[in-house]
Subunit: 329 residues, 2 copies
């Protein structure tokens, strides 16, 4: 069977298809009785609008979302909250994962453009400030607004929604310092990552402020479990810290595993701290004080800002939004 279309409803209701269109999309432009009648018929006939046809003429009411990986719970939750917020506002989401690959990221953007999306929310694959792929220029040319998520880069975009990384580092730093450890290892991200560097700066700030004489060691790894595990293992072969601070969830997981390899009892021999929550830790009975970010808030702001950009033509620049984390002990 073919899909019911506006014209089919029009025939039954004895009106023209444009009236049906209006009754369903902009009911205030149609006489109430007619409107009701049409809506009733549409429902009975099981009408399903055709976004393809709609999007050809006007806005698609669809936004694109791209994240590096959906396996990381942080991004999974962010996506979830973005989709929820968008739906509430009457927008649909097309979701893509770039799998940490530049090529797939480019593909995802191309595909989104093919679907005539009205705007894009993207967490780019690279932590490097100077990562500026071509598609940003294309999107700008086509006036498709882009909201950056979590990772800031120097590329044309209307605004970004970020975490307050310095603050996160600082808060967690205060918490750790208060414990009076002798030696603390910080497992950081890449040296080029602004996110990692900001968190590190916050931590150091807290340490200096406290004027404590704790010995702080820093490892520069990557926001990636494997590398962190390796480097922490190497470190543990030489030294034994009282605590390890992982600068994101992936790193913390790597540090945990490395410590297990060295037969340390987690939370006893070595205490763990993390920026980003490690939800599974509770299942294993390990307490990992952390900085938790309200991911719901994250998604909400990203969507809100993007839609503002879409619906007000001339906004070249909206405010960035910075989400603060809270300490969870």
């Amino acid at each position: 069977m073919k899909k019911i279309k506006l014209a089919d409803i029009a025939k039954v209701a004895n009106v023209s298809s444009i009236t049906v269109s209006r009754a369903l999309s902009t009911p205030e432009k149609v006489k109430p009785e007619t409107c009701e009648k049409i809506q009733k018929i549409a429902k009975e006939m099981g009408y399903i609008p055709n976004f393809m046809a709609k999007g050809l003429k006007s806005r698609s009411q669809t936004i694109g979302v791209i994240v590096p990986t959906i396996i990381n719970p942080f991004f999974a939750s962010a996506v979830k909250s973005i989709i929820r917020s968008a739906n509430k506002t009457g927008y649909n989401c097309l979701f893509f994962s770039s799998d940490e690959s530049q090529e797939m990221e480019q593909n995802a953007v191309n595909t989104l453009m093919s679907y005539n999306i009205d705007g894009i929310i993207i967490a780019v694959i690279s932590e490097d400030e100077h990562y500026t792929p071509d598609y940003f220029a294309t999107l700008k040319k086509l006036s498709i607004p882009v909201v950056l998520l979590d990772r800031h880069i120097e590329a044309p975009h209307v605004c970004g929604v970020y975490l307050d990384n310095v603050d996160s580092g600082y808060k967690l730093g205060k918490e750790v310092i208060s414990k009076q450890y002798q030696r603390v290892l910080i497992a950081s991200g890449s040296a080029n990552s602004k996110v990692a560097n900001s968190r590190l700066a916050g931590l150091k700030m807290a340490a200096e402020e406290a004027n404590s004489n704790v010995q702080i060691d820093v490892i520069k790894a990557d926001f990636n479990t494997e590398l962190a595990k390796e480097l922490v293992e190497q470190y543990l072969a030489e030294l034994k810290p009282d605590a390890i601070i992982g600068l994101n969830n992936q790193i913390t997981l790597g540090a945990l595993e490395a410590s297990v390899q060295h037969n340390y009892r987690l939370g006893t021999d070595i205490h763990f701290y993390s920026i980003d929550e490690i939800k599974t830790a509770t299942h294993f009975g390990i307490a990992i004080p952390c900085i938790r970010h309200d991911v719901e808030e994250f998604g909400y702001h990203a969507v809100t800002q993007l839609i503002r950009a879409i619906e007000t033509e001339d906004c070249d620049k909206l405010s960035d939004i910075i989400i603060r984390g809270t300490v969870i002990k």
Copy 2:
């Protein structure tokens, strides 16, 4: 700036737009030199095809994917692998999460129909065999093929890709039995869940076959961490098993947490077994032997079957595909 369209390229290449269309979509129908020239120009001008316009006339080359939640790593991986497989075959994916809500599931299906998708892969929200929402009838009427993922229900669909649950239970059962425990607790899913019941049946089969005199207790929870945790806690207040078998990843996590609450040392006082891998366990140094399913395979078959259904008109029924798990010690 407006998007480049076929006509723009046509003007530059001195041909008609239909020739451009052919050069890009069906190059074999165009003289090689012309074809090359057109493709070159298209690239230079930064042409981006418009799926909306394309999908209006012909197939959209897009499939829809719906899973109950993306937070569960099992589904997250499945989605990832589905997207990968689809892209390889030249299809795009629109992804939705139903958040375990019937209403959102219905919405997702409606939205997908609005996007003129060619087919749907869905893991329905309910474990109940008799869950048969209306949209299945609609999809059938419109001849939009549906492939069921993981959860089987009695509704019109072309086929399903499932796990071999009895086999998983059986294999894990053999493994557990071999350990000669005195008392084993099985934390199962809902009494209405075919998946849970099959796994349970497999376990019991292994036990009976071994003719061992292990005491087996069964708790019927839900494929959900919270409830499992509560019920296992209640159980532990009375009895202390040597091992607990969680019938899916969520349940196992709940059981772990419950045991932690009772101050048992994981993997020592109580041994854990799981159907579905608990990837994070290694990070915490707990060994959880499990049944691992090749999720990549899962996605591959779902996509392949769906595309077969899409591309061959008259396939009323394709074979179901059953994926076997392997024991990981």
